[in-house]
């Protein structure tokens, strides 16, 4: 890469990646919890995809019943710590808080949930639930991300033997590898993994189904299989220059940052981020916090259409990220090198105008001929979506995918091959952690009714 931004001091890195929402002190948590109105049939609970009984867990904080509070949270959501820190709470629970209607600040539900789960982790995660007696059935789960972990935990409590197969060496999926460090630490995700393991779930890392272990062998071992495989490959821009040194995709870049070995992550002095989703924002702000002098986000539609949450957009602006709206990349320009890939020097873009709305109602960008212009950059981070691993999924008999996602029954999350269930990003195309957590739990119940109703039929 040309012009690698100078490394920062450890103090600077720590300051740049300090938590956006630091933990509550105990009196502050109690005061905030006491502000909760304890609504009856509360809207926050309905707004949460996992339906955590928010007002109940908050009320328990006020009475000092922390164990009961933790149990209330975890009985609805096994990924409660990640959700507490990484959920877009202002469009979910906090967005539904009645205080908004009152014209006042909503209860800081995310921070209160974190306060409780942090307490639970600090206490060494004592058992909160009694698993049912073993039922003799076994479920294999592919992927130790949030949906797989949630599914595993729920099944373990119901008496199943559960094995999670994880291709990576470190479990946790995107919770471990894909969340900005100023939102949460990798260790938080690993604690959550530990919580699931304590229920008796076995996690086998470094096992890639389809290569390290065959699909047939997996099917033989288990009565049902849950696919929590997420999205595997970044969408390519399909423009010249994508192979240049200095071009990377957002998830690869973000994963390096989550390791917290910040001075080992090279970032260009001038960075272009292609795309304007929440992942793109993460990549842009992280690049800036690593020391990039100039970060420009390039998006083909306008601010109004950008898919990132408003608070993420605000965060990027606050970090000094610049925005180039109504622009599409045409060509990544770089130095020629006889020895291999050259290095990024600039990105050539076209201005666009918005045409008629497409079938999703979003106005289609139309490039303006002759509007080419160049932006000199040292690094290009692409973030225009990720895709399911069609090749792997095609090897599972009778497993149907459509529009880039695994087809499932919306109630049971059972796939077209009845032995398979799926949840998380591989059925949604990319949603929040909390949706994955909800899917995993729902699929566990789908699996349970599949195994025991089909078992009965077999008798």
């Amino acid at each position: 890469m040309n012009n690698v931004a100078p490394k920062l001091s450890n103090e600077e890195y720590e300051a740049n990646f300090a938590e956006l929402h630091p933990p509550f002190t105990s009196p502050a948590a109690t005061a905030e919890a006491n502000r909760c109105l304890y609504c009856f049939d509360s809207p926050c609970m309905k707004a949460c995809p996992t339906h955590i009984d928010v007002s109940t867990f908050i009320k328990k904080i006020t009475t000092g019943n922390m164990k009961g509070s933790a149990k209330t949270i975890l009985s609805s959501n096994w990924i409660a710590l990640t959700c507490a820190k990484a959920c877009p709470v202002n469009v979910l629970c906090e967005g539904a808080c009645v205080y908004n209607a009152k014209g006042e600040e909503p209860i800081q539900i995310g921070r209160l949930q974190r306060y409780v789960v942090d307490w639970y982790v600090e206490k060494g995660m004592p058992p909160l639930f009694t698993p049912a007696p073993k039922n003799g059935k076994s479920v294999g789960i592919i992927g130790a991300g949030p949906s797989g972990l949630a599914c595993a935990a729920e099944l373990a409590l119901m008496g199943y033997d559960v094995v999670i197969y994880e291709a990576r060496e470190i479990p946790g999926g995107l919770d471990t590898h894909g969340i900005a460090p100023y939102k949460m630490k990798q260790q938080d995700s690993l604690n959550e993994v530990k919580m699931v393991q304590k229920l008796g779930v076995v996690i086998r890392t470094g096992i890639r189904i389809g290569s390290t272990m065959s699909i047939e062998e997996l099917e033989k071992k288990h009565d049902a299989i849950f696919l929590g495989v997420g999205l595997q490959s970044a969408t390519r821009l399909k423009i010249p220059g994508e192979e240049l040194n200095g071009v990377t995709d957002a998830l690869t870049f973000i994963e390096k940052v989550t390791t917290r070995k910040w001075n080992s992550v090279d970032v260009g002095k001038r960075v272009a981020v292609i795309g304007a989703g929440n992942t793109a924002i993460d990549a842009a702000t992280e690049a800036k916090r690593l020391g990039a002098e100039k970060v420009i986000m390039i998006y083909r539609r306008s601010e109004k259409e950008m898919p990132a949450y408003k608070f993420e957009f605000e965060l990027a602006k606050k970090d000094g990220v610049e925005f180039q709206f109504l622009t599409v990349p045409k060509n990544i320009l770089g130095s020629k090198s006889p020895l291999g890939n050259g290095k990024v020097e600039a990105i050539e873009c076209l201005k666009v105008e918005l045409g008629e709305p497409d079938n999703e109602g979003r106005r289609k960008p139309k490039p303006i001929p002759g509007s080419e212009f160049q932006i000199p950059v040292d690094m290009v981070i692409t973030s225009v979506g990720e895709n399911i691993d069609e090749t792997f999924l095609a090897r599972i008999p009778n497993l149907k995918t459509q529009n880039g996602v695994v087809v499932v029954n919306s109630e049971t999350l059972q796939a077209t091959n009845p032995k398979y269930f799926a949840g998380g990003d591989c059925i949604s195309g990319g949603k929040e952690v909390v949706n994955a957590a909800a899917d995993g739990k729902r699929a566990a119940h789908g699996i349970d009714s599949f195994i025991f109703s089909s078992g009965k039929r077999a008798d």
Partner: protein, 436 residues
């Protein structure tokens, strides 16, 4: 121009706000500092019998993150000598001639001992004497404080011993730890008191430690009851003050005490007939500086209402205190929920449904559930109004009365006695009141 000057039983002060006899008035240094801040008077921390204190003297109730809703103490009367206290009273009075300096006294129940200390107090130049018949801890076990306040005969006897030699006004301070505050009040009057102050602290145990089972606060494993004060006791004090104010047999100026934290609290006591108002817990929480807003707030209120002196305000709420038998049984009001203000927390719904009269429905509206009062079934209990967190969202709407006002006392006269439920139901039915 608003004039806040006050004359409470012959004790004059530039404003009605005195520091109560308590730790804030332990020394000349403190009282002078308070006068500097603007306090109109101070009742010196009780002087008298020799005492020795323990540590961990205070405990407080915090509520929903708010500190010191109630404060409990077992500090005894002054542990400094009578000589030093009287000397500092004299010095303070010289420095602050316009402020009220009242000496609080408590000695053993012996006429000569009382005569001696009263005479020495007069010599110090104090503006008045307050007799501490209230202290419920430490002193009461020794036959002083509330041990006197709880027995009207002792009350009048000791008051007589004091008033027979005193040349300055004598205030009797009453304990609330009695069943009917008027009896010790009447005894004070009988003993010749010039004014009554109340309430002293209320007997309380503040809490139990759930780990050690010790009483909070623990003094080396031992705890016990103490005297409770602060915002939580205000409603109790308001009631007791009004009882003294309304008793035709007493008819003495009142120096009110009990949970006064700000000018609004103070004004409530004045509206119930108090001449001066004493403050302690709020000062202990925030310091003497709170007097600024107490004076400022009251002055602004009086200006806004067009009052120029406290005489125009004092006791103005007393005529509105009534007994149940004199309230209009046919006065009708029902709850009304302003849907524009409602935030759908549904607290009114669950309160009414579970613990009142099941007359709020959750009706679907714009994809949400809107709590709605079924007026025909609303008994007007006001619980929903109490629990609603939104200002002016639930109001009690006065409905046209079904007939001329009728009190219970009148009804008792009109219906055959002893009253039967059938007769009462007939009366209710005639006025459109159905009991579900």
């Amino acid at each position: 121009m608003v004039d806040l000057s006050t004359n409470c039983g012959g004790i004059k002060s530039p404003n009605p706000f005195w520091l109560a006899s308590a730790p804030p008035t332990n020394s000349g240094y403190q009282v002078c500092k308070a006068f500097e801040a603007g306090w109109g008077g101070a009742v010196w921390k009780t002087i008298g019998a020799p005492v020795m204190n323990v540590v961990n003297r205070y405990a407080a109730i915090d509520y929903n993150g708010q500190k010191i809703i109630g404060l409990n103490n077992i500090e005894l009367i002054s542990d400094r000598s009578i000589e030093i206290n009287l000397k500092e009273i004299a010095e303070t009075k010289k420095l602050w001639p316009d402020r009220a300096v009242v000496a609080s006294l408590m000695v053993e129940s012996d006429r000569q001992t009382w005569h001696d200390i009263v005479k020495r107090t007069i010599d110090s130049g104090a503006d008045g004497i307050e007799l501490n018949y209230g202290c419920p801890h430490g002193m009461s076990e020794r036959g002083m404080g509330s041990a006197v306040g709880q027995v009207p005969e002792y009350c009048s006897m000791i008051t007589e011993w004091v008033t027979e030699v005193s040349t300055i006004p004598v205030i009797v301070k009453l304990t609330p730890n009695v069943t009917d505050i008027r009896y010790p009040g009447r005894a004070a009057k009988k003993g010749g008191a010039d004014a009554i102050s109340l309430i002293n602290t209320i007997n309380t145990i503040m809490g139990v430690n759930l780990d050690t089972f010790e009483i909070e606060p623990s003094r080396g494993g031992k705890g016990g009851h103490g005297g409770y004060a602060g915002p939580a006791v205000k409603p109790i004090a308001l009631h007791m003050v009004s009882e003294i104010a309304r008793d035709p047999e007493i008819n003495l100026p009142i120096s009110a005490i009990g949970g006064v934290s700000n000018w609004r609290d103070a004004l409530e006591f004045i509206l119930l007939g108090s001449t001066s108002v004493q403050v302690c817990t709020a000062a202990m929480h925030y310091g003497f500086r709170i007097i600024e807003d107490i004076i400022d707030g009251l002055t602004n209120w009086m200006e806004e209402k067009g009052f120029t002196s406290l005489e125009q305000v004092r006791g103005k709420a007393l005529p509105n205190i009534s007994s149940f038998g004199e309230m209009d049984l046919l006065y009708k009001a029902v709850a009304h929920i302003d849907e524009k203000k409602c935030i759908q927390c549904n607290l009114c719904y669950i309160a009414c449904e579970d613990t009142a009269h099941q007359c709020i429905d959750l009706l679907p509206k714009n994809g949400k559930k809107q709590p709605t009062v079924r007026e025909a079934d609303c008994v007007g209990c006001r619980l929903c109004y109490i629990v609603c967190p939104v200002e002016n969202c639930i109001t009690m709407i006065q409905k046209e009365n079904s007939g001329t006002p009728k009190t219970w006392n009148e009804l008792v006269q009109e219906l055959p006695q002893p009253m039967t439920l059938e007769d009462l139901r007939k009366f209710q039915h005639e006025h459109g009141i159905e009991i579900h």
